[in-house]
């Protein structure tokens, strides 16, 4: 039973990391139709800035210091995302394929810059010491850092939901995902919503970057790779433009992957792709996605 709980909670922790990436991807796609390959570089930028802040504090950080690093990393990634949006994406208005291509270029350039400056070796991320301890849940010893991932993802989910539900800009974003042309026709400036979504997506990815570098034992320009791909899978399974869908799919994939890997090493990735194929065959629009008219 305790192994069962351990694998389950580790899976949820992994799912939380996927969600941090997928939530931004999903909103950006839902609102603007942009397939954002640069999302991985938002994650890496956030990880490096967070690492820079944390390493200023010493070889290990206290919890407030770690949270500070996470927030600064998130803000840096958000601003970077905003810059990319203003500089490149908006100029290719409605040219969706070209927008996707440009973000591919951005991810290559960012990877080359960071790789050239810092090398591709892992650098230890200074974390609070208690991340290495274990928490007892129903007899299972859960590594403490998993709890941090889950808490952060939940916080962002609630924050995201509150913003979308209770603010004006959130209303514009939701309406834009539903039918952008109509929002435009009503004379509401959607551009501000675009920028907000890019900033928020970048912020979530940056925070995710800090957590991913804790999870993969260090920072390097290469950490984003598999997370971006899992982010895409989560978005497709959850349904494009649906943040709750992304959350559901992220948790599902995290848990399924951990359990499959536990029974047969390496089976996890395979099962996830089969799941993807299955969802596409039965429900091409994803679990909580709407059929576009």
């Amino acid at each position: 039973m305790d192994t069962f709980i351990l694998i389950g909670i580790t899976g949820i922790g992994l799912g939380a990391l996927y969600f941090l990436i997928a939530s931004g991807l999903s909103l950006i796609y839902g609102l603007m139709g942009v397939l954002n390959f640069a999302h991985g570089s938002f994650l890496t930028v956030g990880a490096f800035v967070g690492f820079w802040v944390a390493s200023k504090m010493g070889a290990e950080t206290s919890m407030p210091e770690f949270i500070l690093a996470m927030i600064v990393g998130g803000l840096a990634a958000g601003l970077f995302a905003l810059l990319i949006e203003q500089l490149l994406i908006t100029r290719l208005y409605e040219r969706h394929i070209d927008q996707a291509l440009v973000t591919v270029g951005v991810s290559l350039v960012v990877g080359a810059l960071l790789g050239g400056w810092f090398g591709n070796d892992l650098r230890m991320f200074p974390t609070p010491l208690w991340f290495l301890t274990a928490i007892d849940v129903g007899g299972a010893k859960i590594p403490a850092d998993r709890v941090v991932y889950i808490a952060t993802a939940l916080l962002l989910l609630v924050g995201n939901w509150a913003l979308l539900k209770f603010t004006r800009i959130g209303l514009v974003i939701r309406a834009g995902v539903e039918n952008r042309n109509m929002v435009n026709a009503l004379g509401i400036n959607v551009k501000k919503a675009f920028s907000t979504v890019f900033f928020l997506g970048g912020f979530a990815a940056g925070v995710g970057g800090v957590l991913v570098s804790v999870y993969s034992n260090g920072v390097s320009p290469l950490i984003a790779g598999s997370y971006l791909i899992y982010g895409f899978i989560v978005v497709v399974i959850g349904g494009m433009g649906s943040v709750p869908g992304s959350f559901l799919a992220a948790m599902l994939i995290g848990i399924i992957r951990q359990f499959a890997n536990y029974y047969v090493t390496g089976l996890g990735d395979f099962v996830v792709v089969i799941l993807l194929a299955g969802v596409l065959l039965i429900k091409p629009q994803g679990l909580l996605g709407k059929v576009k008219a």
């Binding site: 139709g33 070209d98 440009v102 350039v109 080359a112 390496g266 596409l280």
Partner: protein, 340 residues
């Protein structure tokens, strides 16, 4: 009309020069080093062309093309190493396996379209990368890949002195790919591919099954990619996970966009240029004079992705259609000036 009247004789001349150059010692192509570099560049040129069939001619933005190329590399390598069949049959089986895989993956992922299709193919492609990395049944050698057993292929492909034979094989594979894709894209099925790209609904209204034609394009491109994978196995001497990486597909996309889609020669040129530039830039950065450049500039420049990525962004932003598109635009301008 846009074709320059001398372009075909010039192309024949260029091919002739490229084909006979390794026979003479005096020129750079007489040395095995450049022959190897060019052989790999030809193969990338061919691969870019198979990608152009999907992306340029049929309008399918696939991010999983590496899967079919890697299938060619790995299946032929495994069959040759375990002496299941002779090498030429191994190449054919690899093409067949790749086509079947493309058929299955295509049948599932073509249920989606546009950007979702891109994501889904990326996921399938990445699954291939994961599989070869995991070394199931000890077949794929995991992260290290598998070395090709040189005793089971014709001896003219072995050894540094014989690099010219690899060069010729690669050139022949490129020409073969070009001819097949030329034939496909000029055939009536090719017309349907182009129509699908431009206006899918219209094709549907005409009573054609759009899925079938997309799947056909997907399978042809996968089969050719597997053939080029087999030749790449000969040229590289091993099957490695880097051939299955999604980075392969992204490079192909860059090649096609830089060279220009839908013109065929644009993709080939883009592929050759990209591969050649990446190899040569790595050599350049090894030189002494390069080490004097401060690290904050020199470090990133040493990564070929920086310059190629920047060129790519600039072309997407300012010159859609790439190099060959720019050429045709200039030519159109020149022609319209001539006629009153």
């Amino acid at each position: 009309m846009l074709r320059w009247k001398y372009s075909r004789p010039l192309l024949a001349l260029l091919l002739f020069v490229l084909a006979i150059a390794p026979l003479f010692a005096g020129n750079p192509l007489g040395k095995p080093g450049l022959q190897q570099t060019m052989a790999v560049a030809f193969l990338w040129g061919g691969l870019a062309l198979t990608y152009d069939l999907l992306f340029g001619f049929t309008g399918l933005l696939s991010f999983g093309h590496a899967l079919y190329f890697a299938t060619g590399v790995y299946v032929s390598c495994i069959l040759i190493n375990h002496q299941v069949v002779p090498w030429w049959l191994a190449a054919l089986i690899a093409m067949a396996v790749s086509s079947l895989l493309a058929f299955l993956v295509g049948a599932a992922s073509l249920r989606t379209s546009g950007i979702t299709f891109a994501m889904v193919t990326l996921a399938f492609g990445e699954a291939g990368h994961v599989i070869v990395n995991r070394n199931f049944f000890n077949l794929t050698g995991g992260e290290n890949g598998i070395a090709l057993d040189a005793t089971h292929i014709p001896q003219i492909w072995i050894g540094v002195v014989n690099t010219k034979y690899i060069y010729w094989t690669a050139l022949a594979a490129l020409i073969f790919t070009y001819v097949v894709i030329w034939w496909v894209t000029e055939s009536s099925a090719g017309r349907v591919f182009a129509a699908l790209r431009d206006n899918e609904q219209r094709v549907q209204v005409l009573g054609l099954n759009t899925q079938h034609f997309k799947l056909l394009s997907f399978v042809i491109s996968a089969a050719l990619a597997a053939l080029l994978g087999f030749v790449m196995l000969i040229a590289a001497g091993s099957a490695a996970p880097r051939f299955a990486d999604s980075g392969v597909t992204i490079s192909l996309l860059l090649m096609v966009v830089i060279g220009g889609a839908v013109t065929r020669w644009g993709a080939v040129l883009g592929g050759i240029f990209y591969s050649f530039a990446s190899t040569r830039m790595q050599d350049l950065t090894q030189q002494e004079s390069f080490k004097k450049i401060p690290h904050w500039i020199g470090g990133p420049i040493a990564e070929p992705a920086l310059l190629l990525g920047l060129i790519f962004i600039l072309i997407v932003m300012f010159s859609p259609g790439g190099l060959s598109g720019a050429y045709y635009r200039l030519r159109l301008k020149a022609l319209s000036h001539k006629k009153p």
